[in-house]
């Protein structure tokens, strides 16, 4: 008699507790997606005829992780976006945002005190130091293209290099100069490989006259880098209030692999990363996710968010992960017409440049890097048409695990997974939406090229979740300090955080010792080996 009663009591308590916490029982999308991914990956491994991809335990695990990650991202995105349909939305537990508005922006934002200014300056110094020590011939993008990196067999000793104003630079810089010349009125309009990224070149052209081409591109990279660090700091303060998550994550950005790899390379990625984070900040700042807004506020939020998303698309393809994140996180929260309005307006901005460029400037927006996304879709369709074996083999040949580990090495993923459990549900759902929204395009693009630099758009989520984990660990250490003086506990926590961050920064700075392993992995992803 006793046991069933206890069980009933426990269940009642749990129900009451959930009711009080305003989180009624119901499946969670992330867990449901995880279970689906597990089932699909298991089926793909067992139902398709064996081949080399399952010949050893290491290869089998590589395939399993690749399949699971792809399926989780896909199913989570589908369930979230599908939540715009009321029936699908009712299948899952309601999100905290639906019953509780987001914390007001001012409550956890910057206080502009001396300590905050000091930290902002510290972040700037770290960014400048990393940018300065990884520039020129030490640039990771350039260094990883040299024969010693073992990645290319066609490059000369200097790698895929060009010389901009006397400085060695990553070779793509050569193809940006016609656009720079157009903006500085030195050259006519000449179509090139990077017509779609003209926004980035326009930013650099503003600095080209006083600084020259090399430093103009380098300074735009630094600006994107610092904007990303500051943005992640703000997001951490806002979404993980009363913790050091934002501070820890922003230092991870300042010492981040993706930014170090790009450093002074004439590439659009750092500016696009900065635009991506700025977009996330703007969405929160304008309360895009909130359903309880006046009509005028809602339209300001929609137009502001659409503008920022469009800008990200003019710099690089940043509008795709931003829009996916918006749909995945906003699907269960926002009105469908708001989501459609943000997407339509963002695409209108991106398309406007293409229409103006094609009709008035004679740019072709085709060839080279302009066509790669379409090429990836065609490859997927061909693989799917060849059947289950070919589809599974693709996950072996283009290891998604290798792609993700190339973007963020194991310690960051392990910390991020811990951070998922250490984070409140509101923050966790937001971070998972970013993960799914950013990894989906990188995975979709992988049959064409496996580009960890595309997957690196996930850095706000990965670093903030990792930051939450580091903060939790530091607090566990701090509570073990027996001193009654709180200062000692705080100091112990700070030392623990600093130690972890220093170890992580040591890994991302390994190239300074001549070891280009992480740059090579960031350049073209890991192979099947763990």
């Amino acid at each position: 008699m006793t046991a069933p009663r206890t069980h009933l009591t426990t269940l009642q308590d749990r129900t009451r507790m959930n009711f009080q916490n305003r989180q009624p029982l119901g499946p969670r999308r992330d867990l449901a997606a995880g279970a689906c991914a597990f089932a699909i990956a298991g089926f793909a491994i067992n139902a398709v005829r064996p081949d080399d991809s399952v010949s050893t335990l290491a290869l089998l695990l590589d395939l399993a992780v690749s399949l699971w990650a792809t399926m989780w991202v896909s199913v989570y995105a589908m369930l979230s976006i599908g939540s715009v349909i009321p029936g699908v939305r009712r299948m899952f537990a309601p999100d905290p945002e639906l019953v509780e508005p987001d914390p007001p922006v001012g409550s956890s934002g910057f206080r502009a005190g001396k300590r905050d200014w000091g930290f902002a300056i510290l972040l700037a110094l770290i960014c400048i130091a990393e940018w300065g020590t990884h520039g020129g011939e030490r640039n990771g993008f350039l260094a990883s293209s040299r024969p010693e990196a073992g990645m290319e067999d066609w490059t000369a000793a200097d790698g895929y290099a060009t010389v901009l104003d006397g400085h060695p630079a990553q070779g793509d810089g050569l193809f940006l100069l016609n656009l720079v010349g157009l903006f500085t009125a030195e050259r006519p309009s000449i179509s090139g490989e990077f017509d779609r990224r003209a926004g980035h070149v326009w930013l650099a052209s503003l600095l080209q006259r006083p600084l020259g081409s090399y430093w103009a591109f380098a300074v735009v990279n630094l600006a994107g880098w610092y904007a990303s660090a500051i943005g992640v700091w703000w997001l951490g303060r806002h979404r993980w209030p009363q913790t050091w998550t934002g501070e820890i994550a922003s230092v991870m950005v300042a010492t981040g692999q993706g930014f170090i790899f790009m450093s002074t390379a004439p590439q659009a990625h750092p500016a696009a990363f900065g635009a991506f984070v700025t977009g996330l900040v703007l969405f929160d700042r304008l309360s895009l996710w909130s359903l309880i807004q006046a009509r005028r506020e809602r339209w300001v939020a929609i137009l502001g968010s659409a503008w920022m998303t469009g800008i990200a698309g003019l710099l690089y393809f940043g509008h795709i992960p931003l829009l996916l994140t918006t749909w995945i996180f906003g699907g269960p929260r926002m009105r469908v017409r708001s989501l459609v309005a943000v997407s339509a307006a963002a695409f209108a901005i991106v398309t406007a440049w293409q229409v103006i460029g094609e009709t008035l400037l004679g740019l072709r927006f085709s060839g080279g890097n302009n066509d790669l996304a379409g090429g990836a879709i065609r490859i997927w369709l061909r693989i799917i048409s060849e059947g289950g074996w070919a589809l599974r083999w693709q996950f072996h040949a283009g290891s998604i695990r290798g792609l993700l580990v190339g973007a963020f090495y194991y310690p960051w993923w392990i910390l991020a997974i811990i951070g998922i459990f250490a984070s409140p549900r509101r923050s966790r759902d937001w971070a998972l939406a970013i993960l799914a929204g950013t990894l989906l395009p990188a995975i979709a693009f992988s049959p064409q090229f496996r580009l960890p630099r595309a997957a690196y758009f996930a850095f706000p989520a990965v670093y903030l979740l990792a930051g939450a984990a580091v903060y939790m660990i530091s607090q566990m250490i701090a509570t073990r300090v027996t001193s009654r003086d709180n200062h000692w506990r705080t100091a112990a926590g700070l030392v623990a955080c600093a130690a972890v961050i220093a170890c992580l920064a040591g890994l991302t700075n390994l190239d300074l010792t001549g070891d280009q392993t992480f740059n090579v992995w960031f350049h073209e992803a890991q192979e099947n080996g763990w």
Binding site: G150, A156, F183, L286
Partner: protein, 250 residues
């Protein structure tokens, strides 16, 4: 009152930025600049208003200053020297030469770790026995000469319209305790059809800008590249026991 006043000033500066960007510019430049001033520039100014009116004013002022700077005379957009130029070798009297300095610690250290050495020469041609080239490497330890053919093609193979490497394995003993080596490349036979030898620019600090030379049949001249810092694409490669390149040297 002050923020509203500043807000109006920011809007005025934004409008002025657009005028500065497009007025008097060639129409293609004006269209391109105008689009991005409106989309990105105005957007940044509007967005910074969320932080505060003063920040918005500062943003507008910075963008205006940059738009003005873009119009001032300054550094030109100059094309970098071509990393891919070629010289046609038409007869056997012509010789391309590159002198390697092998006294640097980086070379010495890598050589001590290496298991094999090879010489890479880039050419635009499919070489067979009739149109082969001769490569000769000389150090104080001796001389090694070899006729290079199609079987030596390496990596992205050379084609008549695209440069590629020919790889010639060389005994490691040739480099023991030497401070330099000289490589010459020439056509092998009198009936050799012309082939094009690749050249590029010299980036690595400390490399002698005159390390490469060309004997045109009558006199020694600099390689015919676009700048003074040019070199033949002739490189030494050191590899470990697994065949991984540990140093590419010129």
């Amino acid at each position: 009152m002050i923020p509203r006043h500043i807000g109006r000033m920011s809007a005025g500066i934004a409008a002025l930025t657009l005028v500065v960007a497009i007025i008097g510019a060639p129409w293609e430049t004006a269209v391109a600049r105008g689009f991005f001033v409106v989309s990105i520039g105005f957007g940044l100014i509007a967005g910074s208003g969320l932080i505060g009116a003063r920040t918005q004013f500062a943003t507008a002022f910075v963008i205006f200053t940059l738009a003005v700077a873009q119009r001032l005379p300054g550094q030109p957009v100059s094309n970098p020297p071509s990393p891919n130029w070629t010289r046609t070798i038409t007869d056997t009297r012509q010789v391309a030469e590159h002198r390697f300095s092998l006294s640097e610690p980086a070379w010495k250290t890598a050589l001590s770790r290496s298991a094999s050495t090879s010489l890479l020469v880039c050419a635009e041609a499919i070489l067979d026995q009739l149109d082969a080239m001769t490569v000769k490497i000389t150090t104080t330890n001796g001389t090694f000469a070899r006729v290079v053919g199609a079987e030596d093609a390496y990596g992205a193979h050379p084609r008549p319209d695209r440069g590629g490497f020919y790889r010639i394995p060389i005994e490691r003993d040739l480099f023991d305790r030497v401070d330099g080596a000289t490589v010459t490349v020439s056509a092998s036979q009198t009936r050799t059809p012309p082939f094009r030898l690749c050249g590029t620019h010299s980036i690595r600090p400390g490399v002698d800008p005159n390390a490469s030379g060309f004997f045109d049949g009558t006199e020694w001249i600099a390689p015919p590249g676009p700048t003074s810092h040019t070199r033949w694409l002739i490189e030494l490669r050191l590899a470990d026991k697994d065949g991984r390149t540990i140093l590419a040297w010129y």
